[in-house]
């Protein structure tokens, strides 16, 4: 390697910074969707880098399904406060008030009402014309083909058959009123890249990613953590303490943990390199039907 070569992490970083700045330059009202997860944490750091020494010129928005782990919400609020972020928290009021949740309504209805609908509501409410998401192409098959600037019609829908060609690093940011673009600055990162970057940059993450003794119930082969009193009693009774950690974070009843001893970042990366299970299997919602992520994405989900 000669002196003018970047490491793969620095090259990915430069690519993401370029994408983030392009959105700030081309759109009137962008927003960064913040899920509190590790990918979001990386994306937020990249945004801070893009505009340093200035402040990031757009807000963060968290779509709160009201079923997130308590530690996530705590982390979110502290992080936004400490770093001076302009944070919008949006939830589906109607769904929340009618008591929609995964235990009572099942994962499909819950995800649709409290995540997809809530997201579309939030985006429409503030009239955002561009929304950053922390999705990566290696996560799931249908993501592998999605553009970095991914066009959404005025119903927020994605048409995989009719995507704009995207060449070099030239991004088409033209939209009509009401239409929008979802932007994925870390498209080309893998899960391993994310962990290596978190380690390299010392990025704070929710402690749930680290292995610890936690109250766990086994549901259909998934390790679900008892996080609050809304979990049905018959499940809570079966709970036992297990040393686990989470590879992805979402709604606690829909997010499976893995048995792990990895209680620091090096151990996590080591686990990553030898692991034989992909991360989305710990997400219960993907198993509803084959091609379900593609279906959800067409409907407007991230």
């Amino acid at each position: 390697m000669n002196k003018y070569t970047l490491t793969h992490l620095r090259e990915l970083e430069a690519e993401a910074i370029h994408i983030i700045r392009e959105v700030a330059a081309e759109f009137e009202n962008p927003v960064m969707l913040y899920s509190i997860g590790k990918d979001s944490s990386v994306m937020v750091r990249l945004a801070e880098k893009a505009f340093y020494p200035g402040k990031v010129p757009f807000p963060l928005m968290h779509i709160d399904s009201k079923w997130k782990f308590k530690e996530m919400v705590e982390f979110r609020d502290n992080y936004a406060k400490e770093n001076g972020w302009d944070l919008i928290v949006h939830y589906n009021k109607e769904g929340f008030e009618s008591g929609v949740g995964p235990f009572t309504h099942g994962s499909k209805v819950h995800t649709d009402v409290m995540k997809t609908q809530a997201l579309l509501e939030g985006l429409s409410k503030y009239k955002f014309d561009a929304a950053f998401g922390g999705a990566r192409r290696d996560e799931e098959k249908s993501r592998a083909k999605e553009r970095i600037f991914s066009f959404r019609d005025k119903f927020h829908q994605w048409d995989p058959k009719n995507q704009r060609p995207e060449l070099w690093d030239i991004y088409n940011a033209k939209v009509h009123k009401g239409e929008s673009i979802r932007v994925f600055p870390i498209s080309n990162w893998t899960e391993l890249d994310i962990w290596q970057y978190i380690r390299l940059e010392n990025i704070p993450i929710v402690p749930l990613y680290y292995a610890k003794e936690r109250p766990i119930v086994e549901v259909d082969g998934n390790l679900i953590m008892v996080d609050d009193e809304r979990m049905p009693k018959e499940l809570v009774e079966k709970a036992e303490m297990r040393k686990v950690r989470f590879r992805t974070l979402g709604c606690y009843p829909l997010t499976g943990a893995i048995d792990s001893e990895a209680d620091n970042i090096e151990k996590i990366v080591e686990e990553m390199m030898t692991v034989t299970v992909s991360e989305r299997t710990t997400r219960v919602i993907d198993f509803d039907q084959e091609g379900s992520m593609e279906q959800k994405k067409r409907e407007g989900y991230f």
Binding site: T7, H8, L9, E11, K55, K141, A144, T190, Q196, S278
Partner: protein, 635 residues
């Protein structure tokens, strides 16, 4: 478990590997997906549950019997899975401890040329697959041509299915020989030949024992070691400003990802298009200040002088300028389902700069299979041609061959907003084909004559300010009648006016131009230049031209100067015009009629809308307008 100290050292090392982006070209039949699947599989990146899902899928829709179908792992979307072909660009990732790899996996058929071009645009290297039982076929030539067109410098010819030809060296040599002859006419500096069997795993990751005659590297070994870092352009500084960073009064930074060259603290730079010079005060990043930065780093620089810089400007070293022009030739790939309509002015996005562009001419198209050239007027989906283009404002560019980042652009449709075409700027310029032969560089030098009479002396003499009163409207709207009447009244009031209308200019100055959008644009450019000269000398010009689209009117405004340009719309309906000029509109042999076969864009920004049914009063309205706006009379 490994000691923590070891894993730390290991990770420190692993974080330092570099990135290789590669393209795979070939069809499912050539075993392309099998090769990629195996690279992923054998490099231990194929996760256990993906494999489990794969075995489940294979039984239902698989095309490879009960064996594992590697292709299923790769084809993303549902509909495509059922058709059994990849129809978009899909990106795959794997890494070894030497490198991280991003594979752009693109389909092979001719109808997917645009997808392959897309995948090739970011690749450092291309793997072109050949079926050893078939040899070099049309598709091989097409893929190689596209790879060379997109400027990929490294090609691996992977001669696959060697197991089906008994690992015969002669078969391999013959194929290589034929390919060498073909590739000699293209521009690919580095070609490597590897015989392999993706299905059986020969020469994919490990060196095959069944081909002892092959002394070269196995595929993965080659990918890990091929030298790509010198492919970037470190010679010509091109810093296309992407974002102006102004967090407070003290800090004014210019951010971008460096396109090429090395930016150094303290060096003297020039800003384009203003040509103002300054020196670099700092190279700022979140991780601290740098003394120098290189592509593709994303940084922010500050300058020692207060120079006006905006997005789309380009910072360069004064002794190494890009080309600064509105006219150029490019290889254009048409990406849209709808064929090119050359009368449309597209948006062009180039090096963080954006403007309107028109396609003056397609010189020829190239058949992607035979490389034969043929004459055409427009391009259709997946066609590749050489085009002459003219932009509204100058671009700062280099030929694509020399600089991918400043030589590439995309065209965006003004109505649908789709990315309809992409282009690569060509080195040579043949000025004969260009509508304007004076480059903008020259124009700036000759722009302003050194007259001895000042603006205020003109104003005192003529009792007026030089200005252009421009009336737009459909043919038959009554704008000429209005213009003549206005001229007469102003003349009688003592103003110094010159009237320009379509017939007077077309009978001489624009004699060789027709009514096509391209020629119309040139015609109006000439009119605007005449107005500029006359306005400079304090004279009022009255112009009566259809001037049908916003972009053309914008260009006219730019030439004349916004403060001197006053637009009036003769607001006539098509019905009114047809009644007024029945013979003209009845004649179907007349082409390029705005409002009929060309759009007429009604201006939103007209100073006055004139009512054609009350044309006698219109001059008074305009006279009142110029009085209020202190154009005439001044006293």
């Amino acid at each position: 478990m490994t000691q923590p100290i070891d894993i730390k050292a290991f990770l420190d090392q692993d974080e330092k590997k570099d990135l290789l982006r590669l393209l795979t070209a070939g069809s499912v039949d050539d075993g392309k997906s099998t090769l990629i699947g195996r690279l992923l599989f054998d490099s231990k990146r194929l996760y256990e549950d993906q494999l489990a899902a794969l075995q489940r899928d294979s039984k239902r829709v698989g095309h490879a019997g009960e064996d594992i179908d590697y292709a299923l792992l790769l084809d993303g979307l549902k509909a495509e899975r059922e058709q059994g072909i990849t129809i978009d660009v899909a990106y795959r990732y794997f890494s070894t401890n030497k490198r991280k790899f991003i594979i752009a996996d693109t389909p092979g058929h001719e109808q997917y040329t645009r997808n392959m071009v897309t995948g090739a645009s970011t690749a450092n290297l291309a793997i072109i697959l050949i079926d050893a039982t078939k040899g070099v076929i049309t598709q091989t030539r097409r893929h190689t041509f596209l790879v060379s067109l997109l400027g990929i410098k490294h090609v691996v010819l992977a001669v696959n299915k060697m197991d089906l030809v008994d690992f015969d060296q002669q078969v391999f040599n013959d194929i290589c020989e034929e390919y060498k002859n073909f590739v000699a006419q293209l521009d690919i500096p580095d070609v490597t030949y590897i015989p392999l069997s993706a299905l059986k795993g020969d020469n994919v990751v490990d060196h095959s024992e069944r081909m002892p005659w092959y002394k070269g590297m196995a595929m993965l070994e080659f990918l890990e070691s091929v030298h790509i870092s010198s492919d970037r352009n470190f010679d010509d500084l091109r810093y296309p400003v992407q974002y102006v960073l102004r967090p407070d009064r003290d800090f004014r930074g210019f951010s971008t990802r460096i396109a090429s060259g090395i930016v150094r603290k303290g060096e003297e730079i020039m800003v384009l298009p203003s040509r103002k010079k300054s020196t670099i005060k700092s190279i700022t990043t979140y991780d601290g200040e740098l003394d120098e930065a290189f592509p593709p780093q994303a940084v922010t620089i500050t300058l020692n002088d207060e120079v006006d810089v905006s997005r789309g400007d380009m910072i360069v070293y004064p002794d190494n300028l890009p080309r600064i022009e509105r006219h150029f030739e490019a290889t254009v790939v048409w990406m849209d389902e709808k064929p090119m309509d050359p009368s449309i002015q597209f948006f062009i996005k180039h090096a963080n700069n954006s403007t309107k562009v028109r396609i003056d001419k397609i010189k020829y198209k190239t058949d992607v299979n035979t490389l034969q050239k043929s004459e055409v007027d427009f391009l259709e989906l997946n066609e590749i041609g050489r085009a002459v283009l003219t932009t509204n404002k100058p671009l700062f560019f280099d030929p694509y061959k020399k600089n991918k980042n400043t030589g590439s652009f995309v065209l965006i449709h003004p109505v649908t907003n789709n990315t309809v075409a992409v282009g690569m700027i060509i080195d040579k310029l043949s000025p004969d084909d260009l509508p304007s032969k004076i480059s903008d560089q020259h124009r700036e030098l000759i722009r302003k004559g050194q007259g001895l009479v000042s603006d205020s002396e003109y104003q005192t003499r003529y009792n007026q300010k030089g200005a252009t009163l421009w009336v737009t409207g459909l043919h038959g709207s009554g704008k000429n009648e209005f213009a003549f009447s206005l001229e007469k009244q102003l003349f009688d009031m003592g103003a110094t006016v010159v009237l320009l209308d379509g017939s007077s200019v077309r009978s001489g100055l624009s004699k060789e131009l027709d009514y096509s959008p391209t020629d119309r644009a040139e015609h109006l450019r000439r009119v605007a230049e005449v107005c500029r000269l006359l306005n400079d000398q304090g004279i009022i010009t009255i112009c009566s031209f259809i001037s049908p689209d916003q972009a053309i009117r914008k260009q006219v405004t730019d030439i004349i100067g916004e403060d001197r340009f006053h637009l009036f719309l003769m607001d006539a309906s098509m019905e009114f015009c047809k009644k007024n000029k029945p013979e003209f509109y009845a004649d179907e042999t007349i082409k390029y009629v705005p409002g009929v076969d060309l759009p007429f864009e009604t201006p939103e920004d007209a100073a006055l809308k004139l009512d054609p049914t009350n044309n006698g009063k219109n001059p008074d309205l305009v006279i009142e307008y110029i009085r209020e706006n202190s154009i005439f009379p001044l006293h």
